[in-house]
Protein backbone atom coordinates (compact mmCIF):
# COMPACT_ATOMS: atom_id res chain seq x y z
CA UNK A 1 0.00 0.00 0.00
CA UNK A 2 1.23 3.50 -0.80
CA UNK A 3 -0.25 6.73 0.52
CA UNK A 4 0.61 10.12 -0.92
CA UNK A 5 -0.98 13.49 -1.59
CA UNK A 6 -2.70 13.82 -4.97
CA UNK A 7 -3.29 17.55 -4.41
CA UNK A 8 -3.25 20.06 -1.54
CA UNK A 9 -6.72 18.80 -0.61
CA UNK A 10 -6.65 15.08 -1.34
CA UNK A 11 -4.83 11.90 -0.39
CA UNK A 12 -4.38 8.91 -2.69
CA UNK A 13 -4.30 5.42 -1.15
CA UNK A 14 -3.14 2.72 -3.59
CA UNK A 15 -3.33 -1.03 -3.01
CA UNK A 16 -0.97 -2.15 -5.78
CA UNK A 17 -1.80 -2.29 -9.48
CA UNK A 18 -3.49 -5.66 -9.84
CA UNK A 19 -7.20 -5.54 -10.56
CA UNK A 20 -9.00 -8.33 -8.74
CA UNK A 21 -10.75 -9.59 -5.65
CA UNK A 22 -7.92 -8.79 -3.26
CA UNK A 23 -7.62 -5.12 -4.24
CA UNK A 24 -11.41 -4.86 -4.37
CA UNK A 25 -11.68 -6.12 -0.77
CA UNK A 26 -9.21 -3.47 0.45
CA UNK A 27 -10.87 -0.69 -1.55
CA UNK A 28 -14.34 -1.69 -0.34
CA UNK A 29 -13.19 -1.93 3.26
CA UNK A 30 -11.62 1.53 3.27
CA UNK A 31 -14.51 3.09 1.36
CA UNK A 32 -17.13 1.69 3.72
CA UNK A 33 -15.10 2.64 6.79
CA UNK A 34 -14.70 6.25 5.60
CA UNK A 35 -18.23 6.78 4.28
CA UNK A 36 -19.77 9.52 6.39
CA UNK A 37 -16.54 10.33 8.27
CA UNK A 38 -16.61 14.03 9.14
CA UNK A 39 -13.02 14.53 7.96
CA UNK A 40 -13.94 13.38 4.45
CA UNK A 41 -15.58 15.51 1.77
CA UNK A 42 -15.58 12.92 -1.01
CA UNK A 43 -14.38 9.39 -1.68
CA UNK A 44 -13.31 8.14 -5.11
CA UNK A 45 -12.90 4.36 -4.96
CA UNK A 46 -11.44 2.68 -8.05
CA UNK A 47 -10.02 -0.76 -8.97
CA UNK A 48 -7.03 -0.65 -6.68
CA UNK A 49 -7.16 2.75 -5.00
CA UNK A 50 -9.20 5.23 -3.02
CA UNK A 51 -8.83 8.98 -3.41
CA UNK A 52 -9.93 10.97 -0.35
CA UNK A 53 -10.89 14.65 -0.66
CA UNK A 54 -10.84 16.79 2.47
CA UNK A 55 -11.04 20.44 3.49
CA UNK A 56 -7.43 21.65 3.81
CA UNK A 57 -8.53 24.50 6.06
CA UNK A 58 -9.55 21.98 8.69
CA UNK A 59 -7.44 18.88 8.21
CA UNK A 60 -3.94 17.95 7.13
CA UNK A 61 -2.73 15.11 4.94
CA UNK A 62 -1.15 13.61 8.08
CA UNK A 63 -4.48 13.60 9.89
CA UNK A 64 -6.24 11.88 6.99
CA UNK A 65 -3.40 9.37 6.65
CA UNK A 66 -3.73 8.51 10.35
CA UNK A 67 -7.45 8.02 9.78
CA UNK A 68 -6.74 5.64 6.91
CA UNK A 69 -4.40 3.56 9.05
CA UNK A 70 -6.94 3.48 11.88
CA UNK A 71 -9.60 2.23 9.45
CA UNK A 72 -7.38 -0.48 7.99
CA UNK A 73 -5.95 -1.60 11.32
CA UNK A 74 -9.28 -1.68 13.12
CA UNK A 75 -11.98 -4.30 12.77
CA UNK A 76 -13.58 -4.29 9.32
CA UNK A 77 -17.07 -2.86 9.25
CA UNK A 78 -19.48 -5.35 7.72
CA UNK A 79 -20.04 -4.61 4.04
CA UNK A 80 -23.49 -3.32 3.26
CA UNK A 81 -25.70 -6.16 2.05
CA UNK A 82 -25.07 -6.48 -1.69
CA UNK A 83 -28.19 -6.15 -3.75
CA UNK A 84 -29.03 -8.44 -6.64
CA UNK A 85 -29.95 -6.46 -9.71
CA UNK A 86 -31.24 -7.93 -12.94
CA UNK A 87 -30.77 -5.87 -16.08
CA UNK A 88 -32.85 -6.69 -19.17
CA UNK A 89 -30.88 -6.05 -22.36
CA UNK A 90 -31.74 -5.89 -26.03
CA UNK A 91 -28.63 -7.35 -27.66
CA UNK A 92 -27.21 -6.66 -31.09
CA UNK A 93 -28.62 -4.64 -33.97
CA UNK A 94 -28.79 -0.90 -33.44
CA UNK A 95 -28.66 -1.44 -29.68
CA UNK A 96 -25.41 -3.36 -29.84
CA UNK A 97 -23.51 -2.25 -32.94
CA UNK A 98 -20.29 -3.96 -31.80
CA UNK A 99 -21.78 -7.40 -31.04
CA UNK A 100 -20.57 -8.76 -34.39
CA UNK A 101 -17.06 -7.41 -33.77
CA UNK A 102 -16.97 -8.99 -30.32
CA UNK A 103 -18.14 -12.27 -31.86
CA UNK A 104 -15.41 -12.07 -34.51
CA UNK A 105 -12.73 -11.20 -31.96
CA UNK A 106 -13.71 -13.94 -29.51
CA UNK A 107 -14.49 -16.62 -32.09
CA UNK A 108 -18.05 -17.22 -30.87
CA UNK A 109 -21.28 -16.65 -32.73
CA UNK A 110 -23.26 -13.56 -31.64
CA UNK A 111 -25.67 -15.93 -29.88
CA UNK A 112 -22.70 -17.58 -28.18
CA UNK A 113 -21.45 -14.21 -26.92
CA UNK A 114 -24.90 -13.40 -25.52
CA UNK A 115 -25.17 -16.82 -23.89
CA UNK A 116 -21.82 -16.44 -22.11
CA UNK A 117 -22.41 -12.78 -21.23
CA UNK A 118 -25.79 -13.51 -19.63
CA UNK A 119 -24.47 -16.65 -17.93
CA UNK A 120 -22.12 -14.72 -15.62
CA UNK A 121 -22.75 -12.92 -12.34
CA UNK A 122 -21.01 -9.56 -12.16
CA UNK A 123 -19.89 -7.55 -9.18
CA UNK A 124 -19.85 -3.76 -9.09
CA UNK A 125 -16.19 -3.00 -8.30
CA UNK A 126 -16.84 0.71 -8.07
CA UNK A 127 -18.95 3.48 -9.53
CA UNK A 128 -17.31 6.46 -11.13
CA UNK A 129 -16.27 8.08 -14.44
CA UNK A 130 -18.87 10.68 -15.27
CA UNK A 131 -22.04 9.91 -13.35
CA UNK A 132 -22.84 6.52 -11.85
CA UNK A 133 -20.94 4.39 -14.37
CA UNK A 134 -20.67 0.90 -12.80
CA UNK A 135 -17.33 -0.83 -13.39
CA UNK A 136 -18.21 -4.53 -13.37
CA UNK A 137 -15.89 -7.39 -12.53
CA UNK A 138 -16.77 -10.94 -13.59
CA UNK A 139 -16.76 -10.80 -17.38
CA UNK A 140 -15.91 -14.32 -18.65
CA UNK A 141 -12.27 -14.10 -19.76
CA UNK A 142 -13.07 -15.46 -23.21
CA UNK A 143 -15.28 -12.39 -23.90
CA UNK A 144 -12.55 -9.82 -23.25
CA UNK A 145 -12.31 -7.54 -26.30
CA UNK A 146 -10.07 -4.49 -26.73
CA UNK A 147 -11.63 -1.04 -26.70
CA UNK A 148 -12.27 0.81 -29.94
CA UNK A 149 -9.14 2.39 -31.44
CA UNK A 150 -10.83 5.79 -31.21
CA UNK A 151 -13.74 6.48 -28.84
CA UNK A 152 -17.23 7.14 -30.19
CA UNK A 153 -18.40 10.72 -29.73
CA UNK A 154 -21.86 9.55 -28.74
CA UNK A 155 -22.73 6.39 -26.83
CA UNK A 156 -26.49 6.21 -26.14
CA UNK A 157 -27.85 6.06 -22.61
CA UNK A 158 -28.23 2.51 -21.32
CA UNK A 159 -25.58 0.97 -23.60
CA UNK A 160 -24.17 -2.29 -22.24
CA UNK A 161 -20.51 -2.60 -23.12
CA UNK A 162 -17.29 -4.56 -22.92
CA UNK A 163 -13.97 -2.72 -22.48
CA UNK A 164 -11.02 -5.08 -22.36
CA UNK A 165 -11.62 -7.47 -19.43
CA UNK A 166 -14.38 -5.30 -17.97
CA UNK A 167 -18.07 -4.80 -18.48
CA UNK A 168 -20.15 -1.72 -17.83
CA UNK A 169 -23.34 0.17 -18.57
CA UNK A 170 -23.43 3.81 -19.72
CA UNK A 171 -25.96 5.53 -17.44
CA UNK A 172 -26.06 8.68 -19.60
CA UNK A 173 -25.27 9.40 -23.21
CA UNK A 174 -21.58 10.27 -23.35
CA UNK A 175 -18.46 9.74 -25.42
CA UNK A 176 -16.96 6.29 -24.88
CA UNK A 177 -14.55 3.73 -26.27
CA UNK A 178 -16.03 0.45 -25.06
CA UNK A 179 -17.64 -2.15 -27.38
CA UNK A 180 -21.41 -1.80 -27.32
CA UNK A 181 -23.20 -5.16 -27.36
CA UNK A 182 -26.69 -4.16 -26.24
CA UNK A 183 -28.86 -1.61 -24.53
CA UNK A 184 -31.11 -1.57 -21.48
CA UNK A 185 -34.19 0.52 -20.84
CA UNK A 186 -33.46 0.40 -17.12
CA UNK A 187 -32.46 3.84 -15.90
CA UNK A 188 -29.28 3.56 -13.89
CA UNK A 189 -29.32 7.22 -13.07
CA UNK A 190 -32.25 9.44 -12.24
CA UNK A 191 -31.32 12.95 -11.10
CA UNK A 192 -34.61 13.19 -9.21
CA UNK A 193 -34.02 10.04 -7.14
CA UNK A 194 -32.11 10.19 -3.86
CA UNK A 195 -29.76 8.42 -3.58
CA UNK A 196 -29.53 8.52 -7.33
CA UNK A 197 -27.72 5.46 -8.62
CA UNK A 198 -29.32 2.09 -9.05
CA UNK A 199 -26.00 0.29 -8.59
CA UNK A 200 -23.55 0.56 -5.71
CA UNK A 201 -20.16 -0.89 -4.98
CA UNK A 202 -20.50 -4.58 -4.14
CA UNK A 203 -23.88 -5.14 -5.81
CA UNK A 204 -24.32 -8.29 -7.91
CA UNK A 205 -25.58 -7.88 -11.45
CA UNK A 206 -27.05 -10.34 -13.94
CA UNK A 207 -27.93 -9.48 -17.52
CA UNK A 208 -30.92 -11.17 -19.14
CA UNK A 209 -32.09 -10.92 -22.75
CA UNK A 210 -35.13 -8.71 -23.05
CA UNK A 211 -38.34 -10.69 -23.52
CA UNK A 212 -38.90 -11.56 -27.18
CA UNK A 213 -35.21 -11.87 -28.04
Amino acid sequence: MTIRPASDRSLHVVFGERIGAEAYAAVARLTHALTGAREVLNLHPAYTSVLIDFDPRRYTHERIEALVHACLDGPAAPDPEPRQVEIAVEFGGQCGPDLEDVARHTGFSPAGVIERFTGAVYQVYFVGFSTCFPYLGGLPEELATPRLPAPRKHVPEGSVAIGGPQAGVYPLASPGGWRLIGRTRLRLFDPQAVPPPLLRMGDRVRFVPEAGQ
Binding site: D8, L41, P45, P56, G128, P191, P196, M201
Partner: protein, 292 residues
Protein backbone atom coordinates in the same frame (compact mmCIF):
# COMPACT_ATOMS: atom_id res chain seq x y z
CA UNK B 1 -42.51 34.58 -1.41
CA UNK B 2 -40.26 37.35 -2.73
CA UNK B 3 -38.30 36.48 -5.79
CA UNK B 4 -36.15 37.52 -8.72
CA UNK B 5 -37.40 37.16 -12.27
CA UNK B 6 -35.00 36.10 -15.00
CA UNK B 7 -35.70 38.39 -17.97
CA UNK B 8 -32.85 37.00 -20.05
CA UNK B 9 -30.44 34.33 -18.85
CA UNK B 10 -27.19 35.22 -20.62
CA UNK B 11 -24.93 32.53 -22.00
CA UNK B 12 -24.87 29.92 -19.25
CA UNK B 13 -26.32 31.11 -15.99
CA UNK B 14 -26.83 28.67 -13.13
CA UNK B 15 -27.58 28.57 -9.43
CA UNK B 16 -24.49 27.56 -7.46
CA UNK B 17 -23.35 27.22 -3.87
CA UNK B 18 -20.05 25.70 -2.74
CA UNK B 19 -20.93 22.24 -4.05
CA UNK B 20 -22.47 18.88 -3.33
CA UNK B 21 -20.16 16.62 -1.35
CA UNK B 22 -20.38 12.96 -0.44
CA UNK B 23 -21.44 11.56 -3.82
CA UNK B 24 -18.16 11.07 -5.67
CA UNK B 25 -18.33 7.32 -4.99
CA UNK B 26 -21.45 7.35 -7.14
CA UNK B 27 -19.62 9.19 -9.88
CA UNK B 28 -21.11 12.59 -9.11
CA UNK B 29 -18.56 15.36 -8.62
CA UNK B 30 -19.22 18.29 -6.30
CA UNK B 31 -20.02 20.94 -8.91
CA UNK B 32 -20.45 24.30 -7.11
CA UNK B 33 -19.20 27.78 -7.93
CA UNK B 34 -16.45 27.87 -10.55
CA UNK B 35 -14.91 30.78 -8.62
CA UNK B 36 -15.63 29.84 -5.01
CA UNK B 37 -13.73 32.85 -3.69
CA UNK B 38 -16.03 35.29 -5.48
CA UNK B 39 -19.16 33.42 -4.37
CA UNK B 40 -18.05 33.42 -0.74
CA UNK B 41 -17.01 37.07 -0.79
CA UNK B 42 -20.27 38.15 -2.43
CA UNK B 43 -22.30 36.21 0.10
CA UNK B 44 -20.36 37.56 3.08
CA UNK B 45 -20.73 41.13 1.78
CA UNK B 46 -24.49 40.67 1.43
CA UNK B 47 -24.62 39.38 5.01
CA UNK B 48 -25.23 35.76 4.01
CA UNK B 49 -23.79 32.47 5.13
CA UNK B 50 -20.82 31.95 2.80
CA UNK B 51 -22.35 28.79 1.30
CA UNK B 52 -25.63 30.49 0.31
CA UNK B 53 -26.73 29.84 -3.26
CA UNK B 54 -26.13 32.62 -5.79
CA UNK B 55 -26.45 33.16 -9.53
CA UNK B 56 -23.32 32.30 -11.55
CA UNK B 57 -23.05 34.03 -14.93
CA UNK B 58 -20.59 32.90 -17.60
CA UNK B 59 -18.99 35.20 -20.23
CA UNK B 60 -22.30 36.94 -21.04
CA UNK B 61 -24.55 38.01 -18.20
CA UNK B 62 -28.33 38.16 -17.98
CA UNK B 63 -31.04 40.58 -16.92
CA UNK B 64 -32.91 40.17 -13.63
CA UNK B 65 -35.91 41.97 -12.20
CA UNK B 66 -36.29 42.21 -8.44
CA UNK B 67 -39.79 41.74 -7.09
CA UNK B 68 -38.84 43.04 -3.66
CA UNK B 69 -36.53 45.56 -2.02
CA UNK B 70 -33.30 43.80 -1.17
CA UNK B 71 -29.51 44.01 -1.06
CA UNK B 72 -27.23 42.44 -3.65
CA UNK B 73 -23.50 42.10 -4.14
CA UNK B 74 -21.80 41.39 -7.46
CA UNK B 75 -18.48 39.56 -7.22
CA UNK B 76 -15.95 38.09 -9.63
CA UNK B 77 -15.54 39.70 -13.04
CA UNK B 78 -17.08 42.92 -14.30
CA UNK B 79 -20.03 42.12 -16.56
CA UNK B 80 -20.84 45.76 -17.24
CA UNK B 81 -23.82 45.99 -14.88
CA UNK B 82 -22.96 49.59 -13.98
CA UNK B 83 -22.66 48.71 -10.29
CA UNK B 84 -19.48 48.47 -8.23
CA UNK B 85 -18.20 44.93 -7.66
CA UNK B 86 -17.52 43.54 -4.17
CA UNK B 87 -20.01 46.05 -2.72
CA UNK B 88 -23.42 45.56 -1.07
CA UNK B 89 -25.96 47.60 -3.04
CA UNK B 90 -29.61 48.30 -2.21
CA UNK B 91 -32.11 47.54 -4.95
CA UNK B 92 -35.83 48.37 -5.03
CA UNK B 93 -38.78 46.27 -6.07
CA UNK B 94 -39.32 46.63 -9.82
CA UNK B 95 -35.70 47.50 -10.58
CA UNK B 96 -33.81 45.55 -13.21
CA UNK B 97 -30.15 44.53 -13.16
CA UNK B 98 -28.75 44.25 -16.68
CA UNK B 99 -25.44 42.52 -17.22
CA UNK B 100 -23.63 42.22 -20.53
CA UNK B 101 -20.48 40.65 -21.89
CA UNK B 102 -17.61 40.22 -19.49
CA UNK B 103 -15.09 43.05 -19.34
CA UNK B 104 -12.49 40.86 -17.64
CA UNK B 105 -12.74 37.17 -16.59
CA UNK B 106 -15.22 34.39 -17.25
CA UNK B 107 -17.62 34.64 -14.30
CA UNK B 108 -19.68 37.06 -12.29
CA UNK B 109 -21.79 36.17 -9.23
CA UNK B 110 -25.04 37.83 -8.29
CA UNK B 111 -25.38 37.30 -4.55
CA UNK B 112 -28.69 38.34 -3.02
CA UNK B 113 -29.31 38.95 0.66
CA UNK B 114 -30.92 35.71 1.87
CA UNK B 115 -29.44 33.67 -0.98
CA UNK B 116 -31.32 31.96 -3.79
CA UNK B 117 -33.90 29.74 -2.09
CA UNK B 118 -34.22 26.92 -4.61
CA UNK B 119 -34.71 23.44 -3.10
CA UNK B 120 -31.55 21.49 -2.38
CA UNK B 121 -30.82 18.20 -4.10
CA UNK B 122 -28.63 15.80 -2.16
CA UNK B 123 -27.64 18.57 0.22
CA UNK B 124 -26.79 21.32 -2.24
CA UNK B 125 -28.47 23.91 -4.44
CA UNK B 126 -25.70 23.68 -7.04
CA UNK B 127 -26.58 22.88 -10.62
CA UNK B 128 -24.55 20.02 -12.08
CA UNK B 129 -25.12 20.96 -15.69
CA UNK B 130 -24.04 17.74 -17.43
CA UNK B 131 -26.14 15.40 -15.26
CA UNK B 132 -29.04 17.68 -14.43
CA UNK B 133 -28.60 17.06 -10.72
CA UNK B 134 -29.82 20.18 -8.92
CA UNK B 135 -31.56 21.66 -11.95
CA UNK B 136 -30.63 23.24 -15.26
CA UNK B 137 -29.23 26.50 -16.60
CA UNK B 138 -31.69 29.36 -16.15
CA UNK B 139 -34.16 30.41 -18.82
CA UNK B 140 -36.09 33.62 -19.43
CA UNK B 141 -39.17 33.68 -17.24
CA UNK B 142 -37.69 31.60 -14.40
CA UNK B 143 -38.58 32.88 -10.94
CA UNK B 144 -35.84 32.54 -8.35
CA UNK B 145 -37.14 32.60 -4.78
CA UNK B 146 -35.06 34.56 -2.28
CA UNK B 147 -33.97 32.34 0.60
CA UNK B 148 -33.31 32.74 4.31
CA UNK B 149 -29.54 32.53 4.48
CA UNK B 150 -29.01 36.10 5.75
CA UNK B 151 -27.17 35.76 9.05
CA UNK B 152 -25.91 39.28 9.77
CA UNK B 153 -25.84 42.82 8.41
CA UNK B 154 -24.27 43.48 5.04
CA UNK B 155 -20.56 44.20 5.41
CA UNK B 156 -18.70 47.43 4.72
CA UNK B 157 -16.96 47.70 1.36
CA UNK B 158 -13.46 46.16 1.61
CA UNK B 159 -10.51 48.54 1.12
CA UNK B 160 -9.05 46.25 -1.51
CA UNK B 161 -9.67 42.84 -3.04
CA UNK B 162 -6.83 40.33 -3.49
CA UNK B 163 -5.95 40.51 -7.19
CA UNK B 164 -6.44 37.42 -9.32
CA UNK B 165 -2.91 37.73 -10.62
CA UNK B 166 -1.80 36.77 -14.10
CA UNK B 167 1.34 34.79 -13.34
CA UNK B 168 1.59 31.04 -13.87
CA UNK B 169 -1.04 28.76 -12.34
CA UNK B 170 0.50 27.20 -9.30
CA UNK B 171 0.43 23.41 -9.06
CA UNK B 172 1.62 20.67 -6.75
CA UNK B 173 2.88 17.30 -8.01
CA UNK B 174 0.16 14.91 -9.19
CA UNK B 175 0.17 11.12 -8.67
CA UNK B 176 2.14 10.43 -11.89
CA UNK B 177 4.50 13.43 -11.66
CA UNK B 178 7.58 11.18 -11.83
CA UNK B 179 6.59 9.82 -15.25
CA UNK B 180 6.80 13.31 -16.77
CA UNK B 181 9.79 15.50 -17.56
CA UNK B 182 9.51 19.28 -17.13
CA UNK B 183 7.57 19.90 -20.35
CA UNK B 184 4.44 21.13 -18.52
CA UNK B 185 6.50 23.92 -16.93
CA UNK B 186 8.16 25.11 -20.12
CA UNK B 187 5.25 25.74 -22.46
CA UNK B 188 2.50 28.31 -22.62
CA UNK B 189 -1.03 27.00 -23.26
CA UNK B 190 -4.19 28.48 -24.70
CA UNK B 191 -7.59 27.77 -23.15
CA UNK B 192 -9.65 26.06 -25.88
CA UNK B 193 -13.19 27.07 -26.86
CA UNK B 194 -14.60 23.66 -25.93
CA UNK B 195 -13.70 24.19 -22.27
CA UNK B 196 -16.59 24.00 -19.82
CA UNK B 197 -17.40 23.27 -16.19
CA UNK B 198 -16.19 19.68 -16.67
CA UNK B 199 -12.75 20.54 -17.89
CA UNK B 200 -10.51 23.32 -19.15
CA UNK B 201 -8.94 22.03 -22.34
CA UNK B 202 -5.56 23.50 -23.15
CA UNK B 203 -3.75 23.71 -26.47
CA UNK B 204 -0.02 24.04 -26.77
CA UNK B 205 3.19 22.04 -27.01
CA UNK B 206 2.36 18.33 -26.53
CA UNK B 207 3.46 16.82 -23.23
CA UNK B 208 5.04 13.38 -23.59
CA UNK B 209 4.46 10.83 -20.84
CA UNK B 210 6.07 7.53 -19.98
CA UNK B 211 3.03 6.52 -17.94
CA UNK B 212 1.53 4.32 -20.66
CA UNK B 213 -1.59 2.33 -19.84
CA UNK B 214 -2.88 3.13 -16.37
CA UNK B 215 -5.37 1.47 -14.06
CA UNK B 216 -8.37 3.81 -13.70
CA UNK B 217 -8.10 5.79 -10.45
CA UNK B 218 -9.77 8.66 -8.62
CA UNK B 219 -9.23 12.17 -9.96
CA UNK B 220 -9.45 15.32 -7.82
CA UNK B 221 -10.61 18.83 -8.68
CA UNK B 222 -7.87 20.79 -10.41
CA UNK B 223 -6.00 17.72 -11.65
CA UNK B 224 -3.97 18.35 -14.80
CA UNK B 225 -4.45 15.20 -16.85
CA UNK B 226 -2.62 14.40 -20.04
CA UNK B 227 -4.36 12.17 -22.63
CA UNK B 228 -2.34 10.41 -25.33
CA UNK B 229 -2.41 13.48 -27.61
CA UNK B 230 -0.34 15.34 -24.99
CA UNK B 231 -2.76 18.29 -24.70
CA UNK B 232 -3.51 18.83 -21.01
CA UNK B 233 -7.00 19.08 -19.51
CA UNK B 234 -7.59 20.67 -16.11
CA UNK B 235 -10.42 18.81 -14.37
CA UNK B 236 -12.94 21.39 -13.26
CA UNK B 237 -15.95 21.56 -10.91
CA UNK B 238 -18.08 19.03 -12.83
CA UNK B 239 -15.13 16.73 -13.49
CA UNK B 240 -15.29 12.98 -13.88
CA UNK B 241 -14.63 11.30 -10.53
CA UNK B 242 -12.30 8.61 -11.95
CA UNK B 243 -10.07 8.48 -14.98
CA UNK B 244 -7.28 6.62 -16.65
CA UNK B 245 -5.02 9.41 -17.91
CA UNK B 246 -1.83 10.28 -16.04
CA UNK B 247 -1.78 13.44 -13.94
CA UNK B 248 1.55 15.27 -13.67
CA UNK B 249 0.20 18.10 -11.52
CA UNK B 250 -2.74 19.55 -9.62
CA UNK B 251 -3.74 23.21 -9.41
CA UNK B 252 -3.56 24.51 -5.82
CA UNK B 253 -6.75 25.40 -3.95
CA UNK B 254 -5.79 29.07 -3.74
CA UNK B 255 -5.80 29.24 -7.56
CA UNK B 256 -9.22 27.61 -8.08
CA UNK B 257 -10.64 31.14 -8.31
CA UNK B 258 -8.36 31.75 -11.27
CA UNK B 259 -9.62 28.61 -13.03
CA UNK B 260 -13.15 29.97 -12.67
CA UNK B 261 -12.14 33.20 -14.37
CA UNK B 262 -10.26 31.68 -17.33
CA UNK B 263 -11.84 32.42 -20.70
CA UNK B 264 -11.37 30.73 -24.04
CA UNK B 265 -8.16 31.99 -25.70
CA UNK B 266 -6.58 33.04 -22.38
CA UNK B 267 -2.94 31.98 -22.01
CA UNK B 268 -1.79 29.90 -19.06
CA UNK B 269 1.48 28.48 -17.87
CA UNK B 270 2.35 26.44 -14.79
CA UNK B 271 4.65 26.80 -11.80
CA UNK B 272 5.43 23.99 -9.38
CA UNK B 273 5.07 24.71 -5.65
CA UNK B 274 5.14 22.53 -2.54
CA UNK B 275 2.05 21.52 -0.57
CA UNK B 276 3.26 23.80 2.25
CA UNK B 277 3.43 26.80 -0.11
CA UNK B 278 0.00 25.91 -1.47
CA UNK B 279 -1.50 25.87 2.02
CA UNK B 280 0.15 29.19 2.92
CA UNK B 281 -1.42 30.80 -0.16
CA UNK B 282 -4.81 29.35 0.80
CA UNK B 283 -4.45 30.71 4.31
CA UNK B 284 -3.76 34.23 2.98
CA UNK B 285 -6.95 34.09 0.95
CA UNK B 286 -8.91 32.80 3.94
CA UNK B 287 -7.62 35.60 6.14
CA UNK B 288 -8.97 38.20 3.73
CA UNK B 289 -12.36 36.45 3.66
CA UNK B 290 -12.45 36.19 7.47
CA UNK B 291 -11.79 39.93 7.60
CA UNK B 292 -15.01 40.75 5.77
Amino acid sequence: MSSIRVLSPGMQTTVQDLGRFGWAHFGISASGAADPFALRAGNLLAGNAENAAAVEMTLMGGAFEFETDTIIALAGSDFGAGLPLWTPVEVKAGQTLRCGPSQSGARCYLCVRGGIGVPKTMGSASTHVITGVGGRPLKAGDLLPIGKEAIRRPRPVPKSVPPLGNGPLRVTDGPQAETFADDLYRGSYTVAEESNRMGLRLRGPAIPSAAGHMVTEGAPLGAVQVPPDGQPIILFVEHQTTGGYPKPANVISADFRRLGQLRPRDQVSFERVTIEQALRELQRQEQWLYGL
